[in-house]
Symmetry: C2
C-alpha cells in the first residue's frame, strides 16, 4: 500500500484522550485521512509518496477558531479604545453600511483565511452577512469551516428586508449542505437582543430541521443582560431555554454574564460555548466563568471574534491570554493549566462546533488537519513540557507547515 | 559630512512629545547618535556610508523591558500552573540552588539577550545573582541595560553569606560604573519581605552614594502586604517611605496591591513603577492599578519579569495584553489606549529606569536604538492607525531589523 504522506520524526502531540506525547513520532496520511500515528521506528520501510521531515518540530492538530467574522478584517484597527456604543454606532455600523458588499466580503474573508492558516488554524466557525461570499473564499483557501448566514431583525448587508432573514439563512444552508466536504453550513442568529422571540424560535427550528449547528451571541455585556431581564425577569440563559433554543447543537458565543444557575441549564441542555477572551477584554465586556463551565464538562472552544475587536486571528496569542486571564481573575494560578488550554484550542473546540469526529486531534480515522511548530527559536528553549511551551511561549510565527484535509496549504511559513 | 546610516522611507513613529507620525520618514545616524529625523525628501543627497531602505516598514524606537531576570530563561516552563508557594519552594528555589552558577548565568543571559533583540527590545533592566556574568553576556550581546546585583537576606547563588550581600552589590556597581557606555549598574534589593529594614536602608544608602537606580519588588502579592502590615500596621509603600527608600531613583517593581494613599506617596516621592502584567496574571498575583498611576504622571514602564513566570521576553505580546487587561479589569474600553501603551513600552519605560535622556524615542541627540517592523503580513493589513497596529496586531516576529547604539544587531530576523 502506498500512502500520500509520512510526517516523520517530530515531537507528536496528538491531543487524543490521555494526552500522550510521543517524543519521536510520525503520522501517515492517505486520501486526506490519518491512517496511523505512533513511534517513528514503527514506520520504517513504509511506502509514502511524500516524506515530511518534522525534525526539531512539534507535530500537532491544527487549531480550531470557534468564533470569527472573517470579513471584518477589513475593519482591523479602524476604531479602538472607545466606549462600546460609540465604537458600534459611530464607527463599525457606518463602516459596514458603506463598505460591506459581496466583493469586499470575499476579499477580506480570503485575507482572514490566509492569516488563520499562517498562524496554525485549520478550522474556523464563522458568521456574517453575504456569507455565501465568505463560503466561497473559505472553499478557495482550503481551510475547514462551519459558516452561518447572519439572522438579525434589522436591515443587514445583503438582506435589506429583515422579513427575509431566516429564509436567506435557510437557502444558504441548503446550497452548501453536503456539497463541499470541508464546509459545514449552519444558522447564525445574531443575539437575543437583536432578534425577537419569534425570530430566535424560527431560526432554531430551521437549524433543527436542517440538522445544522445554531450559533448565537449570548450574554456578552451587562447591558444585554438588563435588556433581556426587562422581557420577563429572566436571565438570558433562562430566556433561551424557555424558547427551546439550547441543545447539543447550539453554540453559545461569549457567555460572559452567566451565573451558576445558568451554567446548570447549559449543562443540562448539552449546549456548547465559544469563549473569546481577547475580544471580551478589549471591549471591556467582562470575564466569562470558563473554569466553572469546564468543571461541568461543558464543551468550551476558543475564538478570536472578528478583527474589529481583537485585532487578529492569532490562536497562539489567544491561548497564552486565556490561560493567564482566568488565573488573575480568580487569583488562582492553577486554573486553565496548559493542557486544558490546548484542549480548548483543539479537541474541545472541535467538539463545541460539532466536528470532533472529524478533526481536533491526531487519531487514526480523523481527517488530516496537522501543523508543524518550530521549537528551535530562543523563546522555545529550553522545553521542559511541550504543553507549557505551546501555550506560554510559542508564537503563531513558529507555525512552519500546515495541512488541512491532507492538503499542504502552508510550507516554510508561506501560503502555497 | 558623511553619516554612518541613513534609514530611509519608512513609516516613522518617533514617540517624541506629541507623538507625531511621519508617513515617509528617515533617520540619520552617526557615531551611535541620531543626528536628524524627518521627512524622507529632506534627506535627498545626504551622504551616508550605509543606506537602509525601510520601505513597507515602521521605523520606531527599540522597546524597553523594565524588569527582567535574564538567567531565568533556564527555567522557562520548568513548573507552571502551580500555587505560588509550591512553585517557589518546590521548584524554582531548588532548581536555582542546583543549576545557578556563573557559567549557567552567562549562558542563559546570552540566550535571553538574543530573544529580546529578535523581538525588538533594545534595553532591559535586570536584577539577579552572579550579576557580573549577566553583565558580561549583556556587553557581548550589544544590548543596552541597567543591571543590579541582587541583595537578599538569605544565602544566595554567589553570595552564600548574606552579611556580604550589600558589599557584593556595591562592588558590582563600582566595577561597571562608567566603564561600558551601554551598561548602567544599579542596586537590586529583592523586596521588603526578604530584606530587613536595615538591609533596605543600607542598600538604598549605597544606591544614593553611588548615584544609581535602586530596584525593588514591591507589593506583588496579597500575602506580602499582610507580612509587612505585621511590622507596624503600615502599607508596604508607607513602610518604604518611612525608611526613606522612595525617590526619583527608585524603581518599584510590580506595585500590584497598592491603594490611593500609596499612589499619592509614590507620586510625592517621584518614584517609578515597572509593571509586569503577564507575570502578575500567570502567578495570579493581581492587577496593578496602572491607569491610576499613569493618571498621576508616575512613570510606568513595562516588564516581562523572568521567564519562569511569563514565559518569554516578548514586549509586543506584553503590550497587547496590558492594553486589554486593564480594560476588562475596570470594565472600561477607553483605558490603556494604544498610544499610552506604546509610550509605556518606549519613552515612559526609559524614564522609569532613568534612561530617557539616552533612549526611548527617535529624537536628535539620542542614542540610535531603532527597530524596523514589517507591516506587510496579513495580520498587519489594513492599517488605519499605526499605534493600534503595533499594540493590537503586531507580533514580535514582525521585527525585521534592530539597531542598538548605532550598531546593527538583527538583520532579516537574524542575530548578526
Amino acid at each position: 500500500m502506498e500512502y500520500d504522506y509520512l510526517i516523520d520524526n517530530g515531537l507528536l502531540i496528538t491531543m487524543e484522550k490521555g494526552l500522550p506525547i510521543i517524543e519521536e513520532g510520525s503520522v501517515l496520511v492517505k486520501d486526506g485521512v490519518i491512517e496511523a500515528c505512533g513511534q517513528t521506528n514503527e514506520f520504517v520501510g513504509v511506502n509514502a509518496k511524500n516524506h515530511i521531515i518534522a525534525d526539531k518540530k512539534i507535530i500537532m492538530p491544527g487549531l480550531i477558531n470557534c468564533h470569527t467574522h472573517l470579513p471584518m478584517s477589513m475593519f482591523r484597527g479602524l476604531a479602538d479604545d472607545l466606549p462600546l456604543d460609540v465604537w458600534l454606532n459611530e464607527h463599525i455600523f457606518p463602516a459596514e453600511a458603506e463598505q460591506v458588499n459581496p466583493e469586499s466580503v470575499k476579499k477580506w474573508s480570503r485575507h482572514s483565511c490566509q492569516e488563520m492558516l499562517l498562524s496554525g488554524t485549520t478550522t474556523c466557525c464563522d458568521g456574517y452577512f453575504h456569507e455565501d461570499n465568505v463560503a466561497r473564499a473559505i472553499i478557495e483557501s482550503g481551510i475547514r469551516a462551519v459558516t452561518g448566514q447572519g439572522v438579525i431583525d434589522f436591515p443587514a448587508p445583503g438582506v435589506p428586508d429583515p422579513k427575509k432573514n431566516i429564509q436567506t439563512a435557510i437557502e444558504f444552508v441548503k446550497h452548501y449542505k453536503d456539497e463541499f466536504p470541508l464546509l459545514s453550513p449552519s444558522i447564525f442568529c445574531h443575539s437575543p437582543y437583536t432578534c425577537s422571540k419569534e425570530t430566535l424560535k424560527a431560526a432554531k427550528k430551521a437549524a433543527i430541521d436542517l440538522d445544522v449547528l445554531f450559533q448565537v451571541h449570548v450574554a456578552e455585556t451587562q447591558n444585554e443582560v438588563k435588556m433581556i431581564q426587562k422581557l420577563g425577569n429572566m436571565s438570558i440563559v433562562e430566556y433561551l431555554e424557555s424558547l427551546e433554543i439550547l441543545d447539543e447543537k447550539t453554540l453559545m458565543v461569549h457567555s460572559v454574564w452567566i451565573d451558576d444557575k445558568d451554567i446548570s441549564i447549559i449543562q443540562k441542555c448539552g449546549a456548547s460555548v465559544a469563549h473569546c477572551p481577547e475580544s471580551n477584554m478589549k471591549l471591556a465586556s467582562g470575564v466569562a466563568p470558563i473554569p466553572k463551565l469546564i468543571g461541568k464538562n461543558i464543551p468550551v472552544g476558543l475564538g478570536t471574534d472578528g478583527c474589529a475587536s481583537n485585532n487578529d486571528h492569532d490562536l497562539f496569542a489567544e491561548m497564552d491570554t486565556v490561560a493567564k486571564l482566568h488565573k488573575v481573575a480568580l487569583l488562582d494560578p492553577c486554573v486553565m493549566d496548559a493542557r486544558t488550554t490546548l484542549k480548548m484550542a483543539t479537541i474541545q473546540g472541535a467538539k463545541a462546533i460539532g466536528l470532533d469526529k472529524v478533526t481536533g486531534s491526531i487519531e487514526k480515522g480523523k481527517r488530516a488537519d496537522i501543523i508543524l511548530v518550530d521549537i528551535q527559536k530562543p523563546h522555545m528553549v529550553p522545553m521542559y513540557d511541550p504543553y507549557s511551551s505551546l501555550v506560554y511561549s510559542a508564537k503563531s510565527s513558529d507555525v512552519n507547515w500546515v495541512m488541512v484535509d491532507g492538503r499542504i496549504l502552508v510550507q516554510d511559513q508561506r501560503i502555497l
